[in-house]
């Protein structure tokens, strides 16, 4: 059997506010394989961001364990990169300097660094924007910069929290295609939290639907479409059929 890159075993998370306890989710079991792209869908507040934080090592489960590369996840590290919903580009660094940031801590020669930065910039089509500051960029360009920064050091696992939700439809589709390309080229393992069923379908190998809080995994949909995927896949009957199934599954939870 193929080795899992990251494994969640009976994971539970509660938050405590003084006397009150908020159970977010429990009994989450999941094995994510190397090279897989997994999407997580679920109603608002069901703990999608919390789940990513656990996988990134930014928080600890109240029960169960998360294993990454045969070791329990205790802290963030540069093999697993979390792309936060608010992006967190450094306002004081240019596009190029932002993308170069993760390389500062690696023992690379200047030439290697330069090469990686250039590759990352090409990957997300940011050529010509290198010298601009984040405040001078459109939403799509900011998102591209954040993605380039996340992948420049070639992490094993990429955790994305609603990365394209703030963008217009066209930009979103372009970025989805770019992300698909990155995933394929680098055989990257991706966990993507999203509200957009089409986005999940276009990009993922499996889609996880979480129930309302306190949440569990409600259903896992394997996505059969072969890769690379044509953007026009979105308009095929098979795609629409799956979209409808997932929508119904999700809809039940939204109403609760």
């Amino acid at each position: 059997m193929q080795q899992a890159l990251i494994e969640l075993k009976n994971v539970e998370k509660k938050y405590e506010y003084g006397k009150e306890i908020l159970p977010v989710f429990k009994g989450i079991n999941l094995r994510i394989m190397q090279g897989e792209c997994i999407s997580i869908l679920g109603p608002n507040g069901c703990g999608k961001t919390t789940l990513l934080n656990l996988m990134g090592g930014f928080a600890k489960p109240t029960q169960g364990s998360l294993v990454f590369e045969h070791e329990e996840i205790l802290n963030p590290d540069s093999r697993k990169i979390l792309l936060f919903q608010e992006l967190g580009l450094f306002d004081w660094k240019t596009v190029q300097q932002n993308i170069a940031f993760p390389l500062i801590f690696q023992g690379l020669t200047d030439q290697e660094k330069q090469q990686r930065i250039e590759d990352a910039i090409h990957l997300v089509n940011l050529q010509g924007f290198e010298k601009l500051y984040p405040s001078q960029l459109s939403g799509g360009m900011k998102q591209r910069t954040a993605i380039a920064r996340a992948v420049v050091n070639n992490p094993l696992l990429l955790l994305l929290d609603e990365p394209f939700s703030a963008l217009d439809q066209q930009t979103r589709e372009f970025l989805q295609e770019e992300l698909h390309e990155i995933q394929r080229q680098q055989n990257k393992t991706i966990v993507l939290v999203t509200h957009d069923i089409e986005e999940a379908l276009y990009l993922s190998d499996r889609i996880i639907v979480l129930s309302a809080r306190p949440s569990r995994i409600k259903k896992i949909f394997p996505i059969p479409f072969s890769k690379p995927r044509d953007p026009a896949l979105r308009h095929t009957p098979a795609f629409s059929q799956l979209k409808k199934e997932i929508w119904c599954c999700l809809r039940e939870e939204m109403k609760r």
């Binding site: 990134g56 930014f58 963030p76 590290d77 540069s78 990169i81 979390l82 936060f84 608010e86 992006l87 967190g88 450094f90 306002d91 004081w92 660094k93 940031f101 993760p102 500062i104 801590f105 500051y133 984040p134 405040s135 001078q136 459109s138 050091n153």
Partner: protein
């Protein structure tokens, strides 16, 4: 035509009008030594300029203000960074500083004179004191207000404390640090003049005080004008420096979308 459309025209016009009103007042007020005439001031300016005393006073004041400002704000910067990064220690020290802070630096003048005597050291001490606090608290706030997401990201990529300081804390706090520097610069100039009024025997503050005793109002006005112009230039220099260093902020303001 070029002149009328230039941005200097309006300020130039108002200066000319102000001079005219000033001259008119001089003609209306009989006691000539209370309000010097523009020409009298120009004359006094020429004399102090040619005998070199004005340059000497300017140099003395600038030397004091720059040294005090640089030392005071540097200490403020270091202390602000240190206590923002070591919050626990800050909890002991910051309340103490907050107690000292409301004492206006000029209220320290008597002690300063007793401790350091009349002259450079007193002025230096007072300017340092005045320059310290604005930079200290703005640096502190600037660092404490850095977004958590920036710290998370730096940690995720493997940044250690020293990298955090160089790449996140310091540049992230820079806009706020510059706010502190601008305030400190203004306060420093005010303090050095005040200190020289009472606790020095040289400098522009001393010069205007001396001419009060000699009842030479034209020289007083020369001193006042020079003090104003230097204050203005120092502010402009600070602004220039800020524009050069905090580039992302300035471009923010002029971006076109």
């Amino acid at each position: 035509m070029v002149f009328t459309t230039s941005k200097f025209f309006k300020p130039f016009l108002s200066i000319v009008v102000a001079l005219a009103i000033w001259q008119l007042l001089v003609l209306l007020i009989p006691q000539s030594n209370i309000l010097p005439s523009p020409l009298g001031v120009l004359n006094a300016f020429g004399i102090t300029l040619s005998d070199g005393t004005l340059f000497l006073d300017i140099a003395t004041s600038i030397k004091r203000v720059l040294l005090g400002f640089i030392l005071g704000s540097f200490l403020g910067l270091l202390a602000g960074m240190f206590f923002a990064l070591h919050k626990k220690l800050g909890e002991y020290v910051i309340p103490l500083l907050e107690l000292i802070r409301p004492i206006p630096p000029i209220a320290w003048i008597p002690l300063a004179i007793l401790w350091f005597g009349i002259g450079d050291f007193s002025a230096l001490f007072l300017v340092m004191l005045g320059a310290f606090f604005p930079v200290f608290s703005n640096t502190y706030d600037g660092i404490r207000n850095i977004k958590n997401v920036h710290l998370h990201i730096a940690r995720n990529f493997g940044a250690e404390k020293k990298h955090m300081i160089i790449h996140v804390f310091f540049p992230g706090a820079l806009p706020s640090i510059f706010t502190g520097l601008r305030i400190s610069m203004g306060i420093s100039w005010m303090i050095v003049i005040t200190a020289e009024l009472v606790g020095a025997s040289s400098g522009l503050g001393y010069m205007i005080q001396l001419h009060r005793i000699l009842l030479q109002t034209d020289y007083i006005v020369v001193g006042m004008m020079v003090i104003g112009i230097i204050g203005f230039l120092m502010y402009k220099m600070m602004f220039f420096l800020e524009q050069r260093i905090v580039k992302w902020r300035i471009q923010d303001a002029t971006s076109t979308h």
